[in-house]
C-alpha cells in the first residue's frame, strides 16, 4: 500500500512514519506546502493521511475532485458504519483520504495506527508543555525572590518563605504569586 503523510509538523510526521514502517507499505512524507500537489501526483498514493488543521486541505480536496491523473482518493466518510473510527480520527486530529475501492479491512489498521500515533504525539506535546510551564514557573519564582531580596532586604530563604506564606494565605500557587510580583515590578518599574 502507498501511503502519503502530509503534516506541517515534521516531528509528528516522523512518528507516524515510524509506526507505519512496521506495515508493508511505501511511505511519502510531505511537510512543505510548496509543490505539494505535484509530489502527491507523482507518488500516486492509495491513502493520504493529513493533519486535521492543515491549511492545504481545501487545495488537496479540490485536486482530488478534478484530477484525472491519479485514482481519486475521497474523504474517509465512505461508510456510515465507520463513523466511530472516523470520529476517533477527527478527535485525534488526523483526516484521511482513501482511493475508492480499497477494502476497509486494509484501511482500518492504517487508520488505527495513525490515530494511536497522533494521540501519542499529543501526549508527548502536553508533557513537553507541562515541562516548559514548570520551567517558566521556576523562572518566575527566582525573579520574584530577587525582587523581594532587593526591595525588602530579605535573604533568599526569607524571600521564598514570604512567597509561600502569601500563597497559602490566598490559597493560590506559589508560581502565581511570583508572577504577580514580577508583573507588579514591571508595572511599577524602579519608582519604588
Amino acid at each position: 500500500m502507498r501511503i502519503a503523510i502530509i503534516d506541517e509538523s515534521a516531528s509528528r510526521a516522523s512518528i507516524i512514519r515510524e509506526g507505519l514502517a512496521q506495515m508493508d507499505s511505501d511511505i511519502l512524507v510531505l511537510t512543505e506546502r510548496s509543490g505539494l500537489l505535484a509530489q502527491v501526483e507523482a507518488f500516486a498514493p492509495d491513502v493520504v493521511l493529513i493533519d486535521l488543521g492543515n491549511p492545504s486541505r481545501d487545495v488537496l480536496e479540490e485536486y482530488f475532485a478534478v484530477s484525472r491523473a491519479v485514482a481519486r482518493p475521497i474523504a474517509m466518510f465512505v461508510d456510515e458504519s465507520d463513523a466511530e473510527t472516523i470520529g476517533a480520527s477527527i478527535d485525534a486530529g488526523v483526516s484521511v483520504y482513501v482511493v475508492d475501492g480499497l477494502a476497509a479491512g486494509r484501511i482500518r489498521p492504517v487508520l488505527d495506527l495513525a490515530v494511536r500515533r497522533f494521540n501519542a504525539f499529543a501526549r508527548l506535546q502536553s508533557d513537553l508543555d507541562e515541562a516548559n510551564s514548570k520551567l517558566a514557573a521556576r523562572d518566575a519564582v527566582d525573579k520574584a525572590k530577587r525582587i523581594l531580596m532587593k526591595s525588602r532586604g530579605l535573604s533568599e530563604p526569607e524571600a521564598y518563605a514570604e512567597l509561600r506564606r502569601k500563597a497559602m494565605q490566598s490559597s493560590r500557587r506559589i508560581a502565581e504569586i511570583a508572577e504577580a510580583v514580577v508583573t507588579a515590578q514591571e508595572l511599577l518599574g524602579d519608582s519604588k
Binding site: 488543521g53 492543515n54 492545504s56 486541505r57 481545501d58 487545495v59 474523504a75 465512505v78 477527527i90
Partner: protein
C-alpha cells in the same frame, strides 16, 4: 443559566457577527456563552461541525448545500438558519493583468468593460489562472458567473484553482495565479504588499449576493434549537452595532485581534467601513454596501438564494437538474427558524420566504410579517433575474447560452 455554543470559523471579516455577539455581550444577554475554534481550511471547519467538535460554523453557503447533497462525501443534512452576510468579496488582479485589462485608477472597474478586455487577453495570451477559496464557494460561483456572462468559458479559457485565503497574496506574488476572488481582508493584504489591484467588488456582479451562512448539523439544530434561536437574536443585535459607522474602529480592532483574524486593524477597517484601497499607496474609495450585514433583513435565509446556489452547482459540476436534489438544497436554508427566533422582537421579518433574485431595478416596498420592509436595487450585472419557480428553465437557458458560444 448559560448555554455554551462552540462556533467554528475561518479568519475572514465576515465571521464578524458571532464574534461581536460574544465580545459586546449580546450573546451573554441571551444566556449564551460562545466559544470559538479558528481553522485555516473549510474542510477542517466542516469536519469539526460534522463530528461534533463545534455546534455551529461560519461556512461558505454553497459548501453547506454541497454537504447536504453529498457532493464529494456522503450526504449529511445541514441547516442554515441565518445568513452571516451578503457579498464582501472582491476580484483582485496581479498589477500586470490589471494594467493589461485597463483597470481604471481610483475607482472600481465596470464588470462589462473589464470582462471584454479580459476576453481579449484570454484570446491572445497564455492561459490565465485564477484562485478561489473553495470549489463550493460563492467566490467561485460569482467569478464564473461574471466570466461566462462576458463570453469566457471558466473551464476551458482560463484555469480556476483553490487557494486558502491567507495564502492569496503569496500566490499573486509568486505568479502562481493572475487573479483571485477572495474575501476581506485578503484582497487588501495583497494590495498593501503591492502584489494585487482590486478591480471589481462581487457586489457589482450581484448587488445582493448570498455569501456565508451559519450552518449546523440538522440534528444538532433540533437538539440546540433554543440556543440557536438565542444566537440568532444576539447576532442581529451584533449586526446593528457592526453597521453603525461610529463603531467601525472599535469593531475592526476586536476582529483583528490574535484570537480572531490576527491581522492589521487598518486593513480590516477598510471592508467594514466600505472604504477600499484599490492599489498600493492610493487613497481609499467609497463603495457603499461592499459587505452587507444587516439592513433589509440581510440575514434572512431566503430559500431562493439556496435555489440560485443549486443552479450554479448544477451548472459548474455538469449535473443534470434533479427536482429531488433541488428540494434538498432548498431545505438547507431555514427561514422558519429565523422567523421563530425573531418573532415578537420588533425586528424586520419578510412576508415571503422566497423571492425573484436580481429583479429589483429600484427600491421596492415588499410585504412584511413584522416591520416595514423596503428592498433596494438588487440586480445581476447582466440584467438576468433568477425566478426560483423557474429553476429548471434558468438552468436550461444557462446551458444553452454556453452551447451557442
Amino acid at each position: 443559566m448559560t448555554e455554551r455554543l462552540t462556533i467554528g470559523f475561518l479568519p475572514l471579516v465576515d465571521a464578524c457577527l458571532p464574534i461581536l455577539a460574544a465580545e459586546h455581550g449580546f450573546a451573554a444577554e441571551e444566556g449564551l456563552d460562545l466559544e470559538f475554534v479558528r481553522d485555516f481550511s473549510w474542510a477542517t471547519v466542516l469536519d469539526r461541525l460534522l463530528y461534533g467538535h463545534t455546534d455551529a460554523a461560519h461556512l461558505i453557503a454553497p459548501l453547506a448545500i454541497a454537504t447536504a447533497l453529498g457532493r464529494g462525501r456522503p450526504a449529511q443534512p445541514l441547516a442554515a438558519p441565518f445568513v452571516l452576510g451578503l457579498n464582501g468579496n472582491a476580484i483582485t488582479f496581479s498589477p500586470a493583468l490589471a494594467e493589461a485589462v485597463g483597470a481604471p485608477e481610483g475607482r472600481l472597474g465596470d464588470p462589462r468593460v473589464i470582462g471584454e478586455a479580459l476576453k481579449d487577453q484570454v484570446a491572445s495570451g497564455r492561459k490565465l489562472r485564477f484562485g478561489v477559496v473553495h470549489r463550493y464557494s460563492s467566490h467561485n460561483y460569482m467569478l464564473r458567473y461574471w466570466l461566462a456572462a462576458c463570453g469566457i468559458a471558466p473551464d476551458e479559457d482560463v484555469e480556476i484553482v483553490t487557494i486558502a485565503p491567507p495564502f492569496t497574496a503569496d500566490a499573486l506574488e509568486s505568479g502562481e495565479i493572475d487573479g483571485t476572488c477572495v474575501g476581506e481582508p485578503w484582497n487588501s493584504v495583497a494590495v498593501d504588499r503591492g502584489v494585487g489591484r482590486i478591480v471589481l467588488a462581487t457586489a457589482q456582479i450581484w448587488r445582493r449576493g448570498v455569501e456565508k451562512v451559519l450552518a449546523l448539523r440538522a440534528d444538532r439544530l433540533d437538539q440546540r434549537r433554543e440556543g440557536t434561536e438565542a444566537l440568532i437574536r444576539a447576532m442581529r443585535k451584533a449586526g446593528a452595532h457592526f453597521v453603525d459607522p461610529a463603531n467601525a474602529h472599535a469593531n475592526a480592532a476586536i476582529l483583528a485581534g490574535p484570537r480572531y483574524l490576527d491581522a492589521d486593524p487598518a486593513l480590516v477597517l477598510r471592508a467594514i467601513s466600505d472604504r477600499l484601497v484599490l492599489s498600493q499607496g492610493q487613497a481609499p474609495i467609497d463603495y457603499p454596501d461592499f459587505m452587507f450585514q444587516h439592513r433589509e433583513a440581510a440575514n434572512f435565509p431566503w430559500v431562493s438564494q439556496a435555489g440560485w446556489l443549486y443552479s450554479q452547482m448544477v451548472r459548474w459540476d455538469g449535473l443534470a437538474f434533479d427536482s429531488r436534489q433541488a428540494e434538498l438544497a432548498a431545505r438547507v436554508f431555514r427561514p422558519d427558524v429565523y422567523r421563530s427566533a425573531l418573532k415578537g422582537t420588533g425586528d424586520l421579518l419578510p412576508g415571503a420566504s422566497s423571492k425573484v433574485e436580481g429583479s429589483l431595478q429600484r427600491a421596492t416596498a415588499v410585504t412584511a410579517q413584522q416591520g416595514a420592509m423596503v428592498l433596494e436595487q438588487n440586480r445581476f450585472f447582466d440584467g438576468l433575474a433568477f425566478d426560483p419557480d423557474d429553476l429548471e428553465g434558468y438552468i436550461d437557458r444557462q446551458k444553452n447560452a454556453a452551447l451557442q458560444k
